[in-house]
Symmetry: C2
Subunit: 406 residues, 2 copies
């Protein structure tokens, strides 16, 4: 007997028939003799509909009321699934964030889970009841509903799994696992049987939108075994586990990409101490996240060219912030370009292998693709290139690292 938390996303509970299909998936796990808890998202499209209603209410924005409205999406699906499970003869009841409670901080709209009191759920699961828990929502310190931010149901599931001491947290979604690259672009991409938390974190934050980053971080922190699998097919997915569990580690596990990038270059910034702080401090204050940064010597001495990337949605805000600073920092020209993509080679194996980055640069050069910015970490190498080469670069790198399916 194992204890399993199953999480189903919005497309998996998108309509009445799909919710009944989810009930069958839960029943299959119960029939295997396992203790099961379920975490659900809202029906696909419902959260967007609710967010849109909130947006139409006026210029002012009270995140506490936003949370009241959008949390209803999950409340509907947990009630419906509890009924569908009961109809299959399974003892089940719905749980809302405030009922458990899933205690969070008071940052409405993107709250963080602080504690889950799982004692009552634990007791009921031992008696054979299946708790059906609303993902994405919690209870703030002032007895008001909070939500965790978009995609937060993955985090709810992992946190609940950790609190319940679950053997596995299964994230059911509309893909059947984590691939070596985006299979819509790289037809030779392969599904991975296992991936480490660290790699998954890089894949998730780099744009392979399978799992929410915070959920992977939390799983890593608690050593919670995760599985990503399809709710529409009946086969194993990809296990996200500790590095120790993977015996034969590949050097590179996957090639990820992110189109959510924009590049800013400040030409001939004066090259003196404190300039970087004068630029990135105000950007941080304006809530702009800066990702890659490179600084080159400029042609005309005493000055330098500074290039960095921001989220594409933040580009206008970033440019406006910097233009206000021109008298302070002094630059010759500001160039911005939203038509870039970040391509990343990810693998824990590269820690112990040299030449991984070099192979990347060679493969791109061979296709005539110019690298604009490079950044590296212990387990990844990322480059920024012109967006029009996205597909070409992904396929070339996938082949270069020997990832192509036979």
């Amino acid at each position: 007997m194992a204890r399993i938390v199953q999480k189903f996303g919005g497309t998996s509970v998108g309509d009445v028939e799909r919710i009944k299909n989810v009930a069958l998936k839960v029943k299959a796990e119960v029939d295997r003799g396992n203790e099961v808890a379920v975490v659900l998202s809202a029906m696909a499209g419902e959260t967007n509909r609710l967010v849109d209603l909130v947006g139409q209410m006026g210029k002012l924005y009270d995140a506490r009321e936003y949370d009241v409205v959008v949390a209803t999406g999950e409340q509907v699906t947990v009630g419906l699934l509890a009924l569908a499970l009961q109809d299959l003869g399974i003892s089940a009841r719905s749980w809302l964030g405030w009922q458990i409670p899933v205690q969070t901080d008071d940052v409405h709209g993107k709250a963080r889970i602080e504690n889950i009191d799982a004692a009552e759920l634990d007791r009921r699961m031992k008696l054979g009841e299946v708790p059906v828990v609303a993902g994405f929502q919690g209870l703030g310190e002032k007895n008001r509903i909070t939500t965790l931010g978009r995609g937060g149901s993955d985090t709810s599931a992992v946190a609940l799994a950790a609190a319940l001491g679950a053997d596995r947290c299964d994230i059911y979604t509309d893909v059947d696992g984590v691939y070596t690259s985006d299979p819509r672009i790289v037809t030779k991409a392969r599904k991975l049987d296992k991936i480490t938390y660290e790699e998954m974190l890089e894949m998730a934050s780099l744009g392979a939108k399978v799992l929410q980053t915070r959920a992977v971080e939390m799983a890593m922190k608690y050593g919670q075994r995760l599985q990503v699998l399809s709710s529409f097919e009946d086969k194993p997915g990809t296990l996200v586990v500790d590095e120790d569990e993977i015996v034969e580690q590949e050097i590179v596990s996957g090639i990820a990409y992110s189109r959510d990038e924009a590049k800013i270059t400040l030409v001939r910034v004066s090259d003196k101490p404190g300039v970087a702080a004068a630029i990135f401090g105000p950007l941080a204050d304006a809530n702009v996240n800066v990702d890659m940064i490179v600084q080159n010597e400029s042609v005309g001495g005493n000055a330098t060219d500074l290039t960095f990337t921001v989220a594409r949605d933040d580009l206008n805000r970033a440019v406006a912030t910097i233009e206000k600073l021109n008298t302070v920092i002094g630059y010759a020209k500001l160039l911005s370009d939203p038509n870039v993509v970040k391509i990343s080679v990810v693998g824990v194996g590269m820690r112990s292998h040299a030449g991984v980055a070099q192979r990347m640069f060679a493969a791109l050069a061979e296709k005539g693709i110019n690298i604009q910015v490079i950044s590296t970490s212990e387990i990844k190498v990322s480059v920024l290139i012109d967006e029009q080469y996205t597909e070409l670069a992904l396929r070339a790198l996938h082949t270069a690292y020997g990832l192509d399916a036979a």
Copy 2:
């Protein structure tokens, strides 16, 4: 300064523009220097949509999960209105049943309010904040969401008004008040300025679907002044008040009707003690409400004809229940007829005036309308007639009692 509870029904909050219109109605009351609390229904059609989803989940029906799902409708509207009010510069926040709490019994799907802890709302209203309260929902004894049954938001509003010691509870709806009869049928119907609780109760339960019966009962119990008025027009509605407040009382205040009736006649039931109990006991056990009852001597001695009415939806269940009893009670024939209507003349003034019923019988006779069953109370006379004469009867009676608009 007065303290007012404003309740807006589903059509009044049916879309974004209408919710903003509601915010203006609330602001107008605040601008008059009044303390205001608001109670809302779900957007028109939303509760039906949710009930339909629940119905599709299977044969089993857990009213606790039904409540979880359908309570979301009001949760959405209170969040949205709080935002719309804030956008107008009014301090406002939403309150869900479990947050106040609105304590109810555990009869899920049609719970009764047991207590409202209004201390915190009272404190905030004194500071100028407008509580926006989800109608229709409460918190049961086991920390689960309950709902009050369809139309329960009126009851929520009256209960909240009583708990807050409000000077008036304004029920905004899609009609502009209580009329002497249904204005869609009786074009000469007049809007009443005032009506007593007792009359309103008869009008409401007899089919003038302006106010929920339980809400009127509760208002009467607590002496809570009510006003029914339109959310789409800016003019006074109808006040529902104590009899003492109405100086010049008409003998008859209105002519109501209900199509939700069906007639059952048992021909030649043996005329002996205990027969009525043998029939109406099992009907009560089958949850069938019996309304009008008449018993006539049958032609062939020692037996009697028994006629009574039930809700039209309950007719099949009532007939099935009685047919099972035939060996016990013994009747010659069971006749049933769903094509009947109940017409009622209502007025507290008839307590002190004779001849009210007679005028009704004469007016109907003059139009050649046969009366099938009669029942009377202190303040009303009801007759059951063939449904095809509904409009004719209503207009004739409206004229006969001098209610026609000049």
